[in-house]
């Protein structure tokens, strides 16, 4: 006999539900749109005779109530009608729209689709129930399910009641809601529970009891930090019997730096963060400072409105700080297609589209992407509005390219004790450059005056009577013109000196000319095989006193080995020109400047060239010359010539800001050159990440609507569109300035915007219960699901805004609720009435994310390196990950602690992600990911069972157990088993589990004793109790690692 659904149903129903037998079937079918299973004859719902009666005859008892448009009508119309009779005017059939009252009640020539009060005279109903193939709506060719009889009845009643429309729920302002009074006051811990209990009360369902302390501890640890509690933490909490032990635990966890790591991961999913460019080449790129910024911002509980503004438009904030610029990298996580022959404009447009869609998904929970090609079929988002949003993002300087960058050194966001350059040093270097630049204009004006007055730009004089020596005893030759030739045979390193006595009164600068010579290399001045040289240091002594050079420039610059390295007194660095670059061939020169002009007339000068780097990399032929006045123009001939020409043409002092003059001066301005050189030196050591950040063009690109979303097909007749947001939402603040991303950012978190707080709290809720209050967390539009607890959603949303957008407060509210603290054990009584646990009469068991599968095992095995932030790391991965990519990626496995960092820090290649993440459902972050799926596959089992990384953890854990509890007695055995359970599952074993574990270990010892070589391999070490014993324990911990419970938050 068939059991009818729980009669308590009717308590939830408002409105009559008449219906017939087939209605159930259609209703059933209508609600399973993408399930082809449902269409199989064997599934035919018609077979469920009797069910329909039970379901749809209960309404009468509840008494008729007004039909709510949003609740009842919109879903029917949206599914059946809006595609052709909705917001999209291009696709609108018969010029009829049914998503507005005006549209639906328009006169269609003597009749109306909807005639309020008169369902029988409304064409909508007539067409829906028609049996004529050409008449019936929706038309069969649309392949849309027909509305069921039950739905038709609801529509009819709604029309009789006046056919009132309501705006879509999510676009309505967030309501101030009072938490309801409930019957079971005793079950209330905070207002969240009132909303949940109100519904449970109505159905006479009891909430589940609180989970036991151990489960709760593990749950809240995993949820807030992504790490399980250690045995010590377990002991401490289980001992604490004070009334607020749990609340204090929550506060501790919210204050833990690991909270930021855990919740950053969710945010980074949405930010589509990765450490590579994507597409086919998929080269590595340093985005990690942005990742660290997110972790820090969350740890500091940066208010979500600020968090939003800095990421969307940090670069546009007044006097943007470095931190704010780093935050703007949010929208630089778009992909770059570095494949040869790509059209940069095409992929620039792709990035802009992605920025619009991501913003829509993350903050608004809307599927804006639908409106890229045409007006949205279901939601009030027009094609034109899409491109108004597009206009906010259309002016960034990156064009499928690196674009604007910001150098960030390790240590700037999180401490990096091993860094050779401290962030303070690096910041000082940056500041010095900035200072030199900011004061340059005055010096430039003076320089220009001199230049205009000068009769020639530079005046070098070759000294007479030159002699040359070398430290090793090789014999340099001095030619007639004063050039010096150094024989290439001889000591591999050498110091070559030239001696002379200048004629002129003073010296301001010295010039070193490199002269290739066919005696050693016709193309390059270096004596090495490839023509290279390395000048470690150049020194000047005058009458025996060392006179240091203050700065230097060269006509060709190799940024890795600039000429400044020849005067930095660092024997590790040397001036070089890269022989692989064609420009390195031929004549080159470097100029070395004294701080002040020096009297040199008649004095003995020695210029010393130290070649103390590499082997046989001397300068083979050179000449030294002296200038009494420092040259005004740089050694690069083109730059110098252009500036010289300009200085002859312009009226004196008229145009000091001409780019060519600015460029020439920059190369000859001692403060700038010195500051840049120092920064270059620091950069060479610190290797800062060149973080991709946002920057807009000074003049915005005009935005044209792309017909059918095709950037090659702009709508020129419509003309450029101004940045703006969606008309259906509260307008942006008025402004007389052209709007920028900053205006958009402010609007997103404007308290009047109802979507941002709702979407945000819903996603947080989803992480705690496995499902949002709005299940379609990425679609708050009309095609999405309505909230199960709309009042709770609004209460949490308004609390978020009024609580200063504090996410930590929100977390605290949720995890301290009785609802959260319930047991997750399945209940028979609920299986009947609420199989999906929508009412939350219990908690849910949730498979943890890929990262936690690794991180928690690292904690349990004691291997974890809990360092925060920094460049990505390369833990072991199985061979062959790159066998299927275009080019193998560099993957030098990290050693030491870096091998055991949290998975969040593993380098992420979009085209070949680490198998841990691809196997356990992390997407490749080509686009935003607001929610990961959770699957069960054999490949997952293979990974946790066989992967080197997990084996390493099992071995370490086994050693750890023996270290903690040494000894071979039965009691010690049992204690180790218990500790193993405590470490990995955060609870002691049951008696049965203990017994089975003992049997397992006994059997393993016996089997492994017969193959001691295998045992040694399994144990990985012979330390402690010996390989067989250790191997048995390794198998034990390996088993624990592979349990369902370990990868489930209960």
């Amino acid at each position: 006999m068939r059991t009818p659904p729980d009669p308590r149903w009717r308590l939830l129903f408002s409105g009559a539900r008449p219906g017939g037998r087939s209605a159930v079937g259609r209703f059933f079918e209508a609600l399973t749109p993408n399930l082809h299973l449902a269409r199989r004859p064997s599934f035919s719902p018609w077979a469920a005779a009797g069910l329909s009666v039970a379901l749809f005859t209960t309404g009468a008892e509840a008494g008729p109530q007004r039909i709510g448009f949003n609740e009842k009508i919109r879903p029917i119309l949206s599914n059946a009608c809006f595609q052709c009779h909705g917001p999209d005017e291009k696709k609108r059939e018969a010029d009829l729209r049914l998503d507005t009252f005006e549209g639906a009640t328009r006169d269609l020539g003597g009749y109306k689709a909807v005639l309020p009060g008169k369902p029988d005279q409304s064409a909508l109903i007539e067409r829906m129930i028609s049996h004529d193939k050409d008449e019936v709506m929706p038309p069969p060719k649309s392949k849309k399910p027909r509305p069921t009889e039950a739905q038709i009845q609801v529509l009819k009643q709604w029309i009789s009641e006046g056919a009132q429309y309501e705006g879509h729920w999510s676009f309505q302002p967030v309501r101030k809601v009072e938490p309801p009074a409930v019957r079971s006051e005793a079950s209330v811990r905070n207002p969240v529970d009132r909303f949940i209990l109100a519904k449970l009360d109505a159905l006479k369902i009891k909430p589940s009891p609180e989970a036991d302390k151990a489960t709760l501890l593990r749950r809240v640890h995993l949820d807030l930090t992504g790490l399980p509690p250690t045995p010590q933490e377990q002991e401490q909490f289980l001992k604490d019997t004070s009334a607020d032990a749990y609340e204090r635990l929550v506060d501790r966890l919210l204050a833990s730096p690991h909270y930021g790591e855990r919740w950053a991961r969710h945010w980074l999913d949405q930010a589509r963060y990765a450490d590579s460019d994507g597409y086919s080449i998929d080269g590595a790129r340093p985005m990690w400072p942005y990742r660290d910024w997110v972790i820090r911002a969350l740890n500091e509980d940066m208010p979500f409105d600020q968090f939003t503004r800095e990421q969307i438009a940090g670069d546009l904030l007044p006097n943007a700080t470095r931190s704010q610029k780093i935050a703007s990298a949010f929208h630089r996580n778009t992909m770059i297609n570095a494949e040869g022959g790509s059209d940069p404009e095409q992929f620039r447009n792709e990035s802009v589209v992605d920025r619009v869609n991501t913003t829509g998904a993350v903050w608004l929970g809307l599927t804006l992407g639908c409106a890229q090609c045409h007006t949205h079929k279901y939601d009030p988002i027009s094609h034109r509005e899409y491109f108004k949003l597009f206009a906010f993002f259309n002016s960034s300087t990156d064009v499928n390219s690196v674009g604007e960058t910001l150098p960030v050194v390790p240590g700037e966001i999180f401490p990096a004790p091993s860094a050779k350059v401290s962030p303070a040093q690096y910041a000082a270097g940056l500041r010095k450059v900035a200072d030199a630049q900011s004061t340059a204009s005055q010096r430039r004006a003076e320089w220009l005056k001199k230049l205009e007055a000068a009769s020639e730009p530079t005046r070098w004089q070759a000294p007479k009577a030159v002699s040359a020596t070398a430290k090793s005893g090789r014999q340099p030759r001095v030619l007639e013109d004063g050039a010096v030739v150094v024989p290439s045979a001889g000591a591999p390193q050498d110091v070559v000196e030239i001696h002379f006595t200048p004629d002129q009164a003073k010296a301001s600068a010295f010039r070193l000319r490199l002269l290739p010579d066919s005696s050693f290399n016709a193309q390059y001045a270096g004596t090495a095989q490839d023509g290279s040289f390395a000048l470690t240091e150049i020194e000047l002594t005058v009458d025996g006193n060392v006179q240091p050079f203050a700065w230097a420039v060269s006509d060709l610059n190799d940024p890795k080995n600039p000429v400044s390295t020849a005067i930095d007194r660092d024997p590790q660095t040397a001036w070089q020109l890269d022989p692989k670059r064609a420009e390195s061939k031929g004549l080159h020169e470097a100029w070395f400047f004294l701080k002040e002009p020096l009297a040199v007339e008649g004095k003995r000068c020695v210029v010393r060239l130290r070649h103390e780097s590499g082997k046989n990399r001397l300068i083979g032929k050179f000449a030294v010359e002296v200038a009494d006045e420092a040259p005004l123009l740089p050694p690069e001939p083109k730059v110098a010539q252009e500036a010289w020409k300009l200085s002859r043409q312009t009226k004196p002092g008229t145009n000091p800001n001409h780019p060519a003059l600015v460029a020439a001066f920059k190369k000859m301005d001692a403060p700038q050159v010195i500051a840049e050189a120092e920064l270059g030196r620091l950069s060479a050591i610190a290797q800062p990440a060149q973080l991709l950040i946002m920057k807009d063009l000074p003049k915005p690109r005009p935005t044209l609507l792309h017909l059918r979303g095709d950037f090659l097909n702009p709508d020129k007749t419509l003309g450029p569109l101004q940045p703006d947001t969606l008309a259906v939402l509260p307008p942006m603040a008025p402004s007389d300035q052209p709007r920028t991303r900053l205006d958009l950012a402010k609007w997103l978190v404007d308290p009047r915007n109802p979507l941002t707080p709702r979407v945000t709290v819903n996603r947080v809720w989803m992480r705690y219960f496995g499902k949002g209050l709005v299940e379609t967390e990425n679609d708050f539009g009309t095609q999405g699901t309505a909230p199960t607890h709309p009042e709770l959603l609004d209460w949490l949303s308004s609390e978020l805004v009024s609580g200063g957008w504090s996410l930590k407060k929100l977390h605290r509210t949720i995890v301290t609720s009785a609802t959260y603290r319930q047991s997750s054990t399945a209940r028979k009584d609920l299986r009947e009435i609420d199989p999906l646990n929508l009412l939350l009469a219990r908690q849910n068991r949730i498979r943890v994310d890929a990262e936690i599968i690794r991180d928690s095992a690292l904690v349990s095995s004691g291997l974890i390196d809990a360092t925060l932030g920094g460049p990505p790391v390369f833990p072991p991965q199985p061979e062959g990950v790159f066998a299927f990519t275009q080019a193998a990626k560099p993957w030098v496995v990290s050693t030491g602690g870096a091998r055991f960092r949290r998975a969040l820090y593993t380098h992420f290649y979009r085209s070949a992600q680490h198998p841990l993440t691809s196997t356990f459902d992390a997407p490749n972050f080509s686009t935003t990911c607001t929610r990961r799926l959770s699957s069960n596959t054999p490949l997952q089992a293979l990974m946790t069972a066989n992967d080197e990384a997990f084996m390493e953890m099992a071995q370490a854990a086994a050693q750890g157990l023996w270290k903690k509890v040494p000894g071979t007695s039965k009691a010690e055995d049992a204690e180790r088993i218990k500790q193993g359970f405590v470490s990995f599952l955060c609870r002691p074993p049951s008696d049965q589990e203990l017994r089975r574990s003992q049997q397992f270990l006994g059997a393993r010892r016996k089997a492994l004793a017969e193959s001691p070589q295998d045992a040694a391999l399994i144990a990985g070490t012979s330390a402690g109790p010996g390989p067989v014993e250790l191997a048995a324990w390794t198998e034990f911990t390996r088993a624990l690692i592979n349990t369902d419970e370990r990868i489930t938050r209960e």
Partner: protein
């Protein structure tokens, strides 16, 4: 849906399945409901065999992907006119509005240096580079009028595999296994093999599950060594040892299932068990030495060596074992001239591919598998009628008029479909767009491409986006 409807739906379905003898246990039902809540269709075991919309002629697919874009002018499309105009500038009318990856504008028409001849009953013309393929022309359906939207490798490969130019969407193989499940109990439903000097551009995004559950992602099998990542036990762990550990894990899991009543645990127990089976079935699969000498010779396969020939033979072994979708990537067909040319380099890649491709078709036919196995052969685009100005002979990427062939699985054998103009710039007859090809392949598998959908971010997504039509002319 509001709460009430969601509850009602769940409860109704629960009743329905519990009462109609569908035979789902409580556990599978819970899974079904949970899957459905996530937006996924299949219940319980995500790889359970499912019936499509209508009976499909093809039960499985082997897709030989020629990565880089084979030149139709050197292989399939003899163009005497092009030879006649060799060295002349292309007619401006044909160049108008066309975009190319590398052409600078000074390129000249390039006549093929290859000799062509007609084969079989159908009289398909093939060049001298494909003598083995010549033997199976009458089993093959030739599409000479393919068109795509994109001319860069990565995006074009994504487009033909996923229907979209950017990464992030499910591939054809993922859709097929999502729709049909897999008949293999101990191998993945969608397997990817690779040969040639390097992996295909865009990597794993080509066989991605996109927003579908990860059960449907293509699993790369390496053709030598361990086929699957982590297939081998940890060092020192024997098969018995592994069995003992898995049994112990099963017991702990079973205990937890009893405690919590969460049906998900049963699913995980099944997955672990399948992993164990896979550890023995995958190495067995890879044992090409089990094949007869004559079979090995037909393919040109050498056990233990990674090659396209070995992969073709593996593909047959995979489909014999119930795998739903096998995709082989072979690089490199990107013959621009300069680095890779249409002379020796093309000859080399044809030698690697021709014999085994033909052998696969013949072997499947001989074993009665061709009837319901669809074989697809083709690249992401074709090449231009113009040569490139580079050191050696080569052509640029071209989105129109390229050739792709299919065999078995319900396509007309010996049909030559589509026609291009005399210079091969564009299609003059029966154009087949990538989305049409995808719609047709899904049709062959039994799916209405407009109805095989998955709801993601509020939209019902499909492989063919909002395009595609089934090419009825080529169906049996």
């Amino acid at each position: 849906m509001d709460l009430e409807k969601q509850l009602l739906l769940a409860s109704t379905r629960r009743h329905f399945f519990a009462q109609t003898g569908f035979g789902l246990g409580a556990v599978a039902l819970q899974q079904l409901l949970a899957d459905e809540a996530r937006g996924a269709a299949p219940a319980g075991n995500p790889m359970a065999v499912r019936q499509p919309h209508f009976p499909g002629k093809a039960k499985r697919v082997i897709y030989l992907f020629m990565a880089g874009g084979p030149s139709q002018f050197e292989l399939f499309a003899d163009k005497p006119k092009l030879r006649e105009l060799d060295g002349q500038a292309p007619p401006p009318s044909l160049m108008q509005g066309k975009r190319f990856a590398f052409l600078k504008g000074n390129e000249k028409l390039l006549g093929s240096r290859r000799k062509f001849q007609k084969y079989g009953q159908c009289g398909m013309e093939l060049s001298e580079l494909l003598p083995h393929t010549g033997k199976v022309v009458d089993d093959v359906c030739w599409i000479r009028s393919m068109a795509t939207d994109v001319f860069n490798h990565g995006p074009a490969k994504l487009f033909i595999n996923t229907g979209f130019q950017a990464p992030g969407r499910p591939s054809l193989g993922a859709w097929a296994t999502y729709g049909l499940g897999s008949e293999s109990k101990n191998l993945p439903g969608f397997v990817v093999l690779q040969s040639g000097p390097r992996g295909p551009r865009a990597g794993s995004t080509l066989w991605s599950n996109g927003f579908l559950p990860s059960s449907y992602q293509g699993v790369p099998f390496r053709s030598s060594g361990d086929a699957i990542l982590n297939l081998r036990n940890p060092k020192g762990v024997s098969a018995e040892e592994q069995r003992a550990v898995f049994d112990f894990v099963h017991e702990l899991n079973q205990e937890r299932l009893n405690q919590t009543g969460d049906p998900e645990i049963q699913t995980r127990i099944n997955a672990l068990e399948m992993a164990y089976q896979m550890q023995s079935s995958a190495p067995e699969l890879m044992e090409l030495s089990q094949e007869s000498e004559s079979t090995l010779a037909k393919y040109g396969a050498t056990p233990g060596k990674g090659s396209f020939a070995n992969n073709c033979l593996l593909a047959r072994r995979l489909v014999e074992r119930g795998v739903r979708f096998v995709q082989l990537y072979h690089t490199n067909w990107d013959h621009h001239g300069g680095g890779e040319n249409l002379e020796t380099d093309l000859e080399k890649v044809c030698r690697e591919v021709d014999q085994a491709s033909a052998a696969l078709v013949a072997d499947l036919k001989e074993r009665g598998l061709l009837e319901d196995t669809l074989v697809i052969w083709g690249g992401e685009f074709g090449r231009t009628p113009m040569g490139e100005v580079r050191g050696t002979i080569g052509r640029d990427h071209h989105v129109d008029g390229f050739t792709l062939w299919m065999a078995g699985g319900g396509v007309k054998p010996g049909l030559i479909y589509g026609q291009t103009d005399e210079l091969g710039f564009g299609t003059t007859e029966n154009k087949v767009h990538v989305h049409d090809l995808q719609a047709t392949v899904l049709h062959l598998l039994g799916f209405d491409h407009e109805r095989l959908t998955y709801r993601f971010q509020g939209r019902d997504f499909r492989l063919t986006d909002v395009h595609g039509r089934v090419i009825k002319d080529i169906l049996v």
